[in-house]
């Protein structure tokens, strides 16, 4: 079993690390405080192909393997979780399902501007009364000639404020939501498309998470992703993949929290020695480092399974569950190491603490991951 990265993977990680260090680290605090989406950095990320990491070359993508993809997301999230989130959602729950389930015409039309970063993607599943219970959606797409008339009220849409191309989950059959559960591509600017209120979230504040309201939005039938009724399949494939991206993001946040905690522990003097000389702090650092490494290995294992074409549900759910918990736990321990300063906005650890928490919630809560994992465990036969 080879657990070393290839030279190519290391080169990719090095480049992403360098980019994050020079372009994102200097603005991470400011864009968090201002709740500002950094278009200037987005343009640069586009030039480096961060928006089409796994998309096919013919559509302008870089065709990365999943491990390399995780390494990029981790390095970006390590210094700026909001941008890690933006890229993870764009790449794994928009570009990926579009490439997987889209027709040739849809791919030719939608993928190139998404892969170049000229357009940003969003994934719209959650509604006021539907989240973990996806089948409770109330959004509809009713056929009308060559179009669907879409009515939807989607909330907590990551990238919502800046997205141009959105995968929206609807039912084409209001009588039987499950049977009619479908995914449809909607473009910003379509009459009836409205970006709703910006969420005043506690973390990931540089990502414009909004509601998206579609009122009698006329969308061409050719925008249906897959066939009518394929929505669940699209959503699950996207989320299985997406969870690896979120796990990588959580690993990045945890690593970032560990980085700043190590730095602080070496600098801060208490009882005439640096904090790092106190055994209580060393024990915390040791646990943090071990958890980060374990989360990373689970995440890369899930990425490896994906690259091998194996069954992804269990590994990706395990990776996300463990990495999300790790991010929260490590960031919380980092606050503890910082003491009173950890509770202040003058130190970055509080941002990691706020950013980490949602990785246990979005793209499937911990509890949903546990359901998926338990289901996978229980369906397995005895060896």
């Amino acid at each position: 079993m080879d657990l070393t990265l290839s030279i190519q993977q290391r080169q990719i990680r090095r480049m992403a690390r360098q980019f994050a260090k020079t372009e994102l680290a200097p603005i991470a605090k400011e864009i968090d405080e201002e709740g500002r989406f950094p278009w200037e950095a987005v343009e640069k990320m586009g030039a480096l192909n961060f928006f089409g990491m796994q998309a096919p070359r013919r559509y302008g993508g870089a065709e990365l393997d999943s491990i390399s993809y995780c390494l990029v997301i981790e390095e970006i999230s390590r210094l700026c979780a909001s941008m890690g989130l933006m890229l993870a959602v764009h790449n794994s729950v928009v570009v990926f399902p579009l490439n997987q389930f889209g027709s040739d015409e849809q791919k030719a039309k939608f993928l190139p501007p998404l892969a170049s970063g000229e357009k940003i993607g969003a994934f719209c599943l959650t509604e006021p009364n539907a989240g973990s219970d996806a089948m409770a959606i109330e959004s509809t797409a009713i056929r009308d000639g060559d179009s669907y008339i879409v009515n939807a009220n989607k909330i907590f849409v990551t990238n919502g404020g800046v997205a141009d191309t959105l995968i929206v989950f609807v039912s084409v059959n209001p009588e039987d939501v499950k049977k009619g559960f479908s995914a449809i591509l909607v473009e910003r600017g379509t009459p009836g498309f409205e970006v709703g209120l910006l969420e005043n979230n506690c973390g990931m504040r540089a990502n414009p998470v909004t509601s998206i309201v579609l009122t009698d939005c006329r969308v061409p039938r050719t925008n249906l992703l897959g066939r009518e009724g394929d929505g669940f399949k699209v959503a699950m494939a996207a989320l299985d993949t997406g969870r690896i991206g979120i796990a990588a993001q959580a690993v990045g946040i945890a690593q970032g929290a560990l980085d700043v905690s190590l730095k602080y522990a070496k600098e801060r003097i208490q009882f005439r020695v640096p904090l790092a000389r106190h055994q209580a702090i060393q024990m915390m650092l040791a646990d943090m480092g071990t958890m980060v490494e374990a989360a990373r290995l689970l995440t890369l294992k899930a990425a490896h399974v994906r690259d091998q074409g194996g069954d992804l549900s269990g590994p990706s759910a395990m990776a996300k569950l463990f990495a999300g918990r790790t991010a929260s736990k490590v960031a919380s321990m980092g606050v503890q190491i910082h003491g009173g300063y950890g509770y202040s906005k003058d130190y970055p650890i509080e941002r990691y603490f706020r950013d980490a928490r949602v990785t246990e919630i979005y793209e499937g809560t911990n509890e949903i991951q546990q359901i998926v994992i338990a289901r996978e465990l229980l369906k397995g036969g005895e060896d």
Partner: protein, 261 residues
């Protein structure tokens, strides 16, 4: 224009480990990267190729893990990459390094221009460029900012203390490149392409028909006799008083330490 760019793998500043016996740097793939000064040379080569066509060969001497920096050079636009690697090259000083690089360049054969970084972030001697020019009996110009012209004669701009100097040099020549430029990162597609289209050639001393006595420790005119890490003492001084008094007091301290002229 056929350009050779000499690059070196250096250890990241915060990860320097020294072998206590040989006083040489302990290198690992994780802790090493391309010498930042060499990126300026590579970037100049890419600009020249854009303008005058031709090809770029990246050349380094080092252990096998130095392949990492050659891959980086290929991602950033080099067409060919050659690793000069032989255990007998270990612990070469700049003289021995220049000899081995020179033998590598002789084996490459045809070239118009050799570009080097001004210095490295580890050894920091700034000697390999000029020594390599001597080894190959080539004209050398250091700290070059701008290059124009192609056939036989280059017009060079370099900065010296307070002056912009314009020089002309006949080809082939060796230039060390000023770090006063911005460097770019390779995109994911460029990295992927490098690994698809390129490979790394590895040559040992036999391949180079080099004299082992002139490489490594035996070929070195200098050696490290001792190495002591420097520790920097930092202290924090709190300046008391109202803002005006604080500013006055700060100014006084800065002047006392000759930090303001």
């Amino acid at each position: 224009m056929e350009i050779i760019v000499c690059i070196k793998q250096v250890v990241a500043g915060d990860r320097v480990k020294i072998d206590p016996r040989t006083y040489s740097l302990v290198r690992s793939a994780e802790s090493s990267h391309i010498n930042p000064f060499d990126l300026f040379a590579l970037d100049m080569a890419v600009q020249l190729r854009k303008k005058y066509a031709g090809s770029i060969t990246a050349l380094t001497m080092g252990p096998k893990i130095s392949e990492e920096v050659l891959w980086e050079a290929l991602s950033l636009g080099a067409d060919r990459a050659i690793l000069l690697s032989d255990p007998r090259c270990a612990a070469s000083d700049t003289l021995a390094t220049s000899y081995v690089l020179g033998m590598g360049i002789r084996k490459i054969g045809r070239f118009d221009l050799i570009l080097c970084g001004m210095r490295t972030t580890d050894g920091d001697t700034g000697q390999v460029g000029p020594q390599l020019a001597e080894e190959l009996n080539l004209p050398h110009i250091g700290n070059v900012e701008k290059v124009e012209g192609e056939r036989g004669l280059l017009r060079i701009e370099r900065l010296t203390d307070g002056f912009r100097e314009i020089l002309e040099v006949s080809l082939p020549a060796l230039l060390t490149v000023s770090p006063r430029r911005t460097v770019r990162l390779a995109s994911l597609i460029e990295i992927q392409d490098a690994f698809t289209r390129c490979s790394i050639e590895s040559w040992n001393l036999e391949d180079l028909k080099a004299d082992p006595a002139k490489a490594g420790i035996s070929g070195s005119g200098t050696w490290v006799e001792g190495l002591t890490p420097l520790t920097q003492e930092k202290s924090c001084v709190l300046i008391e008083g109202d803002p005006r008094q604080q500013a006055k007091s700060l100014l006084k301290k800065l002047i006392e330490r000759n930090l303001l002229s």
